[in-house]
């Protein structure tokens, strides 16, 4: 028997006043009941975070809200209602790294709210905190109480956040993108934890996210927001099986699925264009003069071949070394040891002018579209730069070359004189792509090129990359943490963990029948945008994994022994 805990009707938020007011949210309505997980889905700018803030009374000073939010018999949006923070409704944010006060111990941050709200005295609060830490799966809870946030990992800090809010025994918990900043295996654990808590305590959970896979896994009901308006609302099955609104359909279409059958034919082994052997790279904690800090082995004897015309994906969680590998190939980071053969040159041995000339053969597309373009350089100049450096076009041709490139990536030639800040994230990424192909490279390294973009834009960019690859016969090294995206774009995949490649093979083979336990855990953890596939508890990621030499277990499929 479930009761309605929160009833929101006609919630609207405007920023600023009078004529120049912008509307952030318009007429949003929903209910949350005991034991229910409601998901608010939207891309950036949809207003989903604002909804949470409005309910909690945490809106910025210039924002005004109107409407009704009935909770425990009171309208939360009315002028003089005390916000239900903590003991009524709890809130968890996205960035666990910055969400805890760095100068106070975990223990004091956990207990202070309990004491302030009068739920218990300090000793009882201390005991409850330890119990709750245990409940949320933190080992050594007694020790943790005396530690500081910086001594915990991101996943642990998020658990602490959950513990902190649950200690106040709220009726509802709002989780605003709680796992977006976490690795996929950690994300799975946190989501399991949340589901567990809801089941145990029968609180209502409002899960705000942009990830349709997470929605499918967790939610029972869904609201889809676009530009501040509710575009569609319904049960999770209904949204996924039979979406009504066009936006919802487009959103679902754009989401890559890890299970999608690979449509491209398996490419037969062609020529090897790049051959990396025995790459090592260790980072020290300290730079410059002074005793060295803790060392991190980013690349541990990595060897890899890249075939002509393929898209090879590098997959791994943070600290796997995948980005370092990309950077080493580009000579942005210098490897400690090893060779990289491109054509018949050792890339790592080149210096000076020859290195600069050879650089044009490998180009990179970076993750952050906001920082990968020089803010003081016009877009046209940025795209032209590789051409000017390599001297591959005469002065009179330059204008045409830029126009052609801009058009090719889906922009217009008039944009050449504008500056990066005038463009959106997706557009900037297109510009970055234009710059990357300008010098006619053989290999393109894409380092998480779509991670910072909305899912609908992501689909466009991935399509663009696929087209360009085919047209210009490009080879691509695609670095990503998103297993579904990799499934969609890659021919072969290499899974990395702690600086070593632990599995390598055709993406279909590896994804549908992974051999290495880590790969299995990764695939297991990735949320699938299909609500009918409810999952049970996952096998926890424990202990160490085999990271020995790679042995071929099937044609072209290698696994670390």
């Amino acid at each position: 028997m479930s009761t309605t805990l929160l009833s929101v009707r006609g919630l609207s938020i405007t920023l600023g006043s009078d004529a120049r007011a912008t509307s952030l949210l318009q007429d949003v309505s929903f209910d949350v009941s005991t034991g229910q997980i409601l998901s608010i889905v939207g891309e950036s700018g949809s207003g989903k975070s604002m909804t949470a803030k409005a309910i909690m009374g945490l809106l910025p000073p210039k924002a005004n809200s109107s409407g009704i939010a009935m909770f425990r018999g009171q309208n939360l949006l009315a002028k003089n209602t005390t916000p239900p923070r903590g003991t009524g409704i709890g809130l968890i944010f996205q960035e666990p790294m910055t969400a805890l006060t760095p100068v106070l111990t975990i223990g004091s941050q956990l207990t202070e709210a309990i004491v302030v709200h009068g739920l218990a005295d300090i000793n009882a609060a201390h005991r409850r905190a330890i119990e709750m830490l245990d409940r949320v799966g933190i080992p050594n809870p007694v020790q943790r109480m005396r530690q500081y946030p910086h001594e915990l990992s991101g996943g642990m800090r998020q658990r602490v956040m959950i513990a902190m809010m649950m200690l106040l025994e709220p009726d509802i918990l709002i989780a605003d993108e709680p796992t977006t900043a976490l690795d996929v295996t950690v994300q799975a654990q946190i989501l399991d934890l949340l589901r567990d808590i809801v089941f145990d305590t029968q609180i209502g959970l409002i899960l705000i996210t942009h990830d349709m896979g997470v929605v499918a896994e967790m939610a029972s009901d869904v609201i889809v927001l676009k530009a501040g308006q509710v575009v569609e609302a319904g049960s999770v099955q209904q949204i996924f099986d039979a979406p009504n609104a066009e936006y919802t359909r487009a959103l679902l279409d754009a989401v890559p699925s890890i299970e999608a059958a690979h449509l491209k034919p398996l490419s037969t082994k062609g020529t090897v264009i790049l051959s990396a052997r025995n790459l090592h790279k260790t980072f020290r904690g300290q730079r410059g003069v002074g005793p060295a800090g803790p060392k991190t082995k980013a690349l541990d004897d990595v060897s890899l071949d890249i075939w002509h015309g393929e898209t090879l994906a590098l997959v791994g969680e943070s600290g796997s070394g995948k980005s370092t590998l990309g950077r080493v190939l580009l000579r942005l980071t210098e490897a400690d040891q090893g060779t990289v053969e491109l054509g018949n040159m050792d890339l790592l041995a080149l210096t000076g002018a020859q290195l600069r000339l050879t650089r044009r053969k490998i180009q990179m597309i970076f993750q952050d579209p906001y920082a990968s373009l020089d803010p003081r350089q016009s877009v046209g100049a940025a795209i032209l730069e590789p051409i000017i450096i390599q001297g591959s076009a005469t002065k009179s041709d330059r204008h045409e070359v830029v126009s052609e490139l801009l058009t090719r990536v889906g922009l217009t030639p008039e944009m050449a004189n504008r500056f990066p800040h005038e463009f959106s994230g997706g557009q900037r990424q297109r510009i970055a792509i234009a710059r990357a192909i300008a010098s006619g490279p053989e290999l393109i390294i894409a380092d998480e090129p779509t991670s910072a973009l909305d899912v609908s834009i992501q689909a466009q960019i991935l399509d663009l990359l696929a087209d360009l690859k085919q047209e210009k016969k490009l080879t691509m090294l695609f670095i990503s943490h998103d297993l579904a995206v990799v499934r969609q774009v890659a021919d072969r995949v290499a899974v990395m963990r702690q600086g070593r490649i632990i599995e390598l093979g055709p993406v279909d083979a590896v994804w549908s029948a992974p051999r290495h336990p880590y790969t299995k855990a990764l695939i297991d953890a990735a949320p699938v945008p299909d609500p009918h596939r409810k999952r049970g508890l996952r096998t926890p990621l424990t202990g160490s994994f085999s990271t020995g030499k790679l042995t071929e277990v099937a044609p072209g499929h290698w696994v670390a022994s």
């Binding site: 903590g86 944010f93 100068v103 106070l104 111990t105 202070e112």
Partner: protein, 307 residues
Amino acid sequence: MWHFLSTRLVMGFLTIWVTTIMVTLLIHAVPGDPVQIMYAQSQGTTPEQIEQVRRSLGLDRPIHIQYLMYMERLFQGDLGVTIRGGQPVLEVIFQRLPNTLMLAVTAMFIAILIGVPIGFLAAYREGTVIDIALMVLAIAGISMPHFWLGLMLLFFFALELGWLPVSGNSIMNLILPALTLGLSNAAIFARLTRSSMIDVMSQDFIQTAYAKGLPKALVLRRHVMRAGLLPVVTMMGLQFAFMMGGAIVVENIFSWNGVGRMAVEAIFQRDYPIIQGFILTFSVVVVVVAIAIDALYAVLDPRIRRA
């Protein structure tokens, strides 16, 4: 934490060592013959006496020998003698150093006690009239030359109103110079504190604190203040160095018998041994205080204490 502190200690030693080198080289940078210049003003020094001084200073030897001589004497506590009167430089400095330190420390207290609360208040009331008014005051404070402020204070309080003595060495005499130094630096502390607090208040963890339902006063006191004061502590070392520099001028205005006043006189008299001694002392004091404050910071910031 020890890594942090040991780096600082090493740098401190290095700084003092470089100071000794620079101090030895100082004499050579003087255009012309330094010994001649030194004794130009005192009459009746024979060429033999000048030669004697030259030899005792080691100026007739190669530079590295001079340096070693200087260091040797340094470790014995001998910083040379003044040109006038031949007193040991070390003695002269030690007589006056406590006065300067008293001035600088008192000024520091004044600056912090006035500046930090003002900065805090301005941050708390960010954007309101109070904030704007306080910050205008702060900017005016920074822009005012401290020697002018000193003169004005001297004029009003000592001469016009006769509340405080003009010169001398009692505690009453400390008030005006300390106030002069302290007020100018209070403005800097105010602005610094304000920006640090505002920065902290926009951080995620403050949102978390509010989301827990903590009352505003508690959030400010426990979360904002503690996190926001850390950068202010960092700046204290720098500010102390500035104050030592400012003390030089202030001592002059109020005839306060500290090393600053001694140094300026020495410059006019071309009394190089004192100038050298002063530079060295100044350096050592600044370095020691800086390390002490760094140590304090290392203890206060858990991210460094438990790295």
